[in-house]
Subunit: 484 residues, 3 copies
Amino acid sequence: MGCIQSFRQCCDQPKNTNVRISLPAVCFVWQLAMIILFGFFIRYNAESDVHWKQENKNISRSDIENDFYFRYPSFQDVHVMIFVGFGFLMTFLKRYSFGAVGFNLLIAAFGLQWALLMQGWFHSLDPMDGKIKIGVESMINADFCVASCLIAYGAVLGKVSPVQLMVMTLFGVTLYAVEEYIILNLIHARDAGGSMVIHTFGAYYGLSISWMLYRPNLDKRLNGSVYHSDVFAMIGTLFLWMFWPSFNSAISYHGDGQHRAAINTYLSLAATVLTTVAISSLSQKAGKLDMVHIQNSTLAGGVAVGTAAEFMLMPYGSLIVGFCCGIISTLGYIYLTPFMEKYLKIQDTCGIHNLHAMPGVIGGIVGAITAAAASEGVYGKEGLKTVFDFTGKWENMLPTQQGGHQAAGLCVALCFGIGGGILVGCVLRLPIWGDAPDDHCFDDELYWEVPEDEESIPPILEYDNHIRNQAGKNSHFSMEQSRN
Amino acid sequence: MGCIQSFRQCCDQPKNTNVRISLPAVCFVWQLAMIILFGFFIRYNAESDVHWKQENKNISRSDIENDFYFRYPSFQDVHVMIFVGFGFLMTFLKRYSFGAVGFNLLIAAFGLQWALLMQGWFHSLDPMDGKIKIGVESMINADFCVASCLIAYGAVLGKVSPVQLMVMTLFGVTLYAVEEYIILNLIHARDAGGSMVIHTFGAYYGLSISWMLYRPNLDKRLNGSVYHSDVFAMIGTLFLWMFWPSFNSAISYHGDGQHRAAINTYLSLAATVLTTVAISSLSQKAGKLDMVHIQNSTLAGGVAVGTAAEFMLMPYGSLIVGFCCGIISTLGYIYLTPFMEKYLKIQDTCGIHNLHAMPGVIGGIVGAITAAAASEGVYGKEGLKTVFDFTGKWENMLPTQQGGHQAAGLCVALCFGIGGGILVGCVLRLPIWGDAPDDHCFDDELYWEVPEDEESIPPILEYDNHIRNQAGKNSHFSMEQSRN
Amino acid sequence: MGCIQSFRQCCDQPKNTNVRISLPAVCFVWQLAMIILFGFFIRYNAESDVHWKQENKNISRSDIENDFYFRYPSFQDVHVMIFVGFGFLMTFLKRYSFGAVGFNLLIAAFGLQWALLMQGWFHSLDPMDGKIKIGVESMINADFCVASCLIAYGAVLGKVSPVQLMVMTLFGVTLYAVEEYIILNLIHARDAGGSMVIHTFGAYYGLSISWMLYRPNLDKRLNGSVYHSDVFAMIGTLFLWMFWPSFNSAISYHGDGQHRAAINTYLSLAATVLTTVAISSLSQKAGKLDMVHIQNSTLAGGVAVGTAAEFMLMPYGSLIVGFCCGIISTLGYIYLTPFMEKYLKIQDTCGIHNLHAMPGVIGGIVGAITAAAASEGVYGKEGLKTVFDFTGKWENMLPTQQGGHQAAGLCVALCFGIGGGILVGCVLRLPIWGDAPDDHCFDDELYWEVPEDEESIPPILEYDNHIRNQAGKNSHFSMEQSRN
């Protein structure tokens, strides 16, 4: 602990935010590395390879039974969540919308390539030829993996440079792939919607990094929203909210598995909205609602129902999960975020602790309980096997055991998140990454060519009159006028 | 009539817009009620239950034949229409964007839960165990039901409190479920895209409520758009416009039914755009277009083709419907909306009479005519049975009779809309709901914590200079400056 | 050349931007013509006709094998690209957002109807009854055809009247249909994602028109963005970026064809983002990113992988294509666009030369090389036939020959684009179309009723004080204040 503190201090040096060498270098070199690695390792899988057509004819399957048609609509919904959902959710800051959508796009585009490789090595390496075989499910999993890094971005939004984000994504994806392999394959926990694997890991990864990068003198003048930026952020909120059923059902098993996961998520999210509104209104003197809560806490139900979405959670079970998460997440924004900043020295720009960390942990617990409570009466003998994948060496596993494995999975996600975040945080404190000084955070000016201010557009027709009218006045004053 | 007027006056008392008790209470209690009712009544249907897998194997159906894969992509499109489409369409007001997207989300999230119950009791109660069995089609129908309440919201936008909206939604969903049962099941009218069931009912429900809540002294300073809010509203317009084919085809029968409904709607909407532009340009002195028309009237063709979308309307038939509706709807905005406000005392914020009421009625009539004109020559003997569902006790029904039933359905929708709206309007006039006083309508300040104005963000780099320059002037003036 | 120049001068007459007669006339008459032509020619195809149900039962196909379920999700994604993607991408100008989304909607709605007819006559005319049979694939193709005209719109954005746009679309769609028929049917080139047919043609069509309409005295005060308009434009960028895999796979053959096209596009786009960021940062003094590059060049990989998307391009091949296009497209914005304006007299508002023209040509070349390099070893004997459609009279074609045909196709697209653009440009120079004078370009005021400025909204609560404070000052000054 002490050593972390001293490391922290030794890294605090004057800032140079020029990334003209480092950013292009990172982008070029890493993209070239991707091309080379893809050349060595990545090929189409059986269902996206041209030979599928022929094999398919031999076994008289219909074209529509290609996995593409089971999963592609969900993939596109997930894709929208990653790029528009996460991207626009972060545009709420008054002067960081370019950074929010732009860097979100950058790190997601890099992360998904690296995720295809990392996840491929762990999950879909073909032992015959040593190649990773990719298809639509790989693309969904890559997007999922990227999601955890974008969640982490939420904690450090406005305080890091794009180069730091790239580094954070490189390590984040790597850690994710290892953690996912341990949780899903070694521990044999189930996590269709990623409450543990994506949200818990991603959130604690980001929070730990934010803790390592603590800025005691952070200037908060730009750490807030304006009217329009809040409306932009609602675009992100709504696309996340609407497509979350696709997120949680995207990689469930075909048929009723995907069907049930979508229903459970749909219901949980609906319940969350009502309790979020209730707590938000209660918390203000005049009962007014706070946009921050509506933008974020309404999504907590989707996070928390992730693990159990494909289980027989029952519609009312989903509502209960959503009900609780709306309350907890909104209370988190009201009480916990200021507390964490003041006493734990964790500056969490987007409040990911309330939206991802707590609901993710709840989701892991709900998953463990639901799994432990599973019975042949509800699932049927076949159903238990399918839902919990009791096959191969896990053939004789019992639901109660599975509940324990789920809980173990949650612990692994927590450890990887916190531990990984602290390590990566150390790396990111090196004074070479071009991050912003404390009094220029949350400002697009640092890394973007920002156009002149909107208020300075005079309608052309009135422009000349305006100039003429102003001409008689003293020059300082007319400049003031035209700037407004 | 006289009694309604006197009731109206007796309710006019000083306003208290604090909803800190009522809003959380309504949200909590109703959500708890939902959980209890879901616990008693709602279960997964055969295709989302874990036993489907097993039964499915027995009868050798492919997983892809789960209803989920027929309808889920359409469901997600409908979902986007409900939350982004309706939500953003209403952001056109200069200071009511939070209320537009926020309350839209709130009432839709509540309404869909209540709709699953109400529609379930009428349509999918399993006689074996007394449970409602839900699947992807139930979710679409719940979204449809909510749409009618969101249409009604358009008429009273900016003039009601969130508590009133919740009450309006509670009754609206209830009335919808009854009306839908009467029209579809008792009268045996067909209405795939809901021209009658959703649009006619929802619009007249909202207009009647708006009539009951008439505000003679309404302050209109904020009842208008600004440049950016009009662009935000176009997000809503476009997502409604693009996904309307999914809306009208979402619950059509599998195969060519869905296919045809999508084509008809696609064409009708295209034709509407051209006539809307034509009338909008004609109506202005210099031929300039009015954003209100483009935002709204371009959608009228989708409404009007709703009932007949799955019939053999023929591509040119769809174009004709769209052609007429673009004209009628735009003329409605130009002439009818001011007339209704002045003479009929109906204040219709979004002009739902032009976008939903008239096109909905036209849609009902088109449906009746198309059904009455159906012949075995066009449909084939089998086709008639499938399209108009001439099975069971309706086996010997003739197309001409069906036309009559369609017309009867339209009347029922009208009656429920107007009658229900007047009744609910009475309830909403009670002075306990926290609605806005006449001079504070269309203002987010009442129910939202609104961030400081955008114009007051000084770019950080110039901030200090700005302060220094202002310091010498008198304090009142400099405050004026910085507020601008 | 000289004759073009003299024609250009003779058309330069004073401008009248009133379109109150011409725009409604064009919309009405052309829409009526569409209805009549649709009445004569357009019918449902086998899969959207009510008889499909019956025929389907006879041959025991499942409903899910209707082409609707193969293509409708992709169609909706393409639809979003056309209306939200292209529409919002063009909202980046500070005062042309209405024109961007509004005219985009208008010309797309007209263009898709005309495209259904034009493409229908060439491709799906039923020889039995002389009717065009449409289904979901026709709708996708119509959207594709419209895309080429929307690309062309990008070059002349802000400089033409809506009537000119309608004329441009009428001719554009006509030329497209002929060119597409020549390239796909006569030359037998493959072009699933339309690198040649859509992007190359559309871009050179627009650039040639822009060259013909060159404005030496163009006022550029409004030819730039503001902060919010750049964020709006990112909505367009992201929806294009995310749904491009659906665009390139929408009309590929069922099964692995669509699957592979989606994967290739997904990867190519990801690589493009990284090199775009790299070049954009390198090109600025302080390494700051330029929003114009992020908004546009990140999409170049999707364009360039269009033709080869369904081929066995291999994942690393897609990355290489994306890598190169990000570099070339961004360099184009930095060096080529100013050069073209200064020396070639081509004013390209959106920089379509960098986003569509160059990547389109690259796409055509990549397609030719990939086709020429195809071998039975990679594709299998069956695979070659399926992917390159070596059937009928093309049965004995070799991959190397196919490569030549692809190159020939690219030339045809170029010729049609440039030649067609010059001809249509001549027509558009006639002084009857109501286009803007040079000093009023890029301004919504000309064709739209623009609401009062945003800055003039005083929060109601402070409004009265504001008025009172201002009352003592001279009237001119207070008007100045309230306008700001």
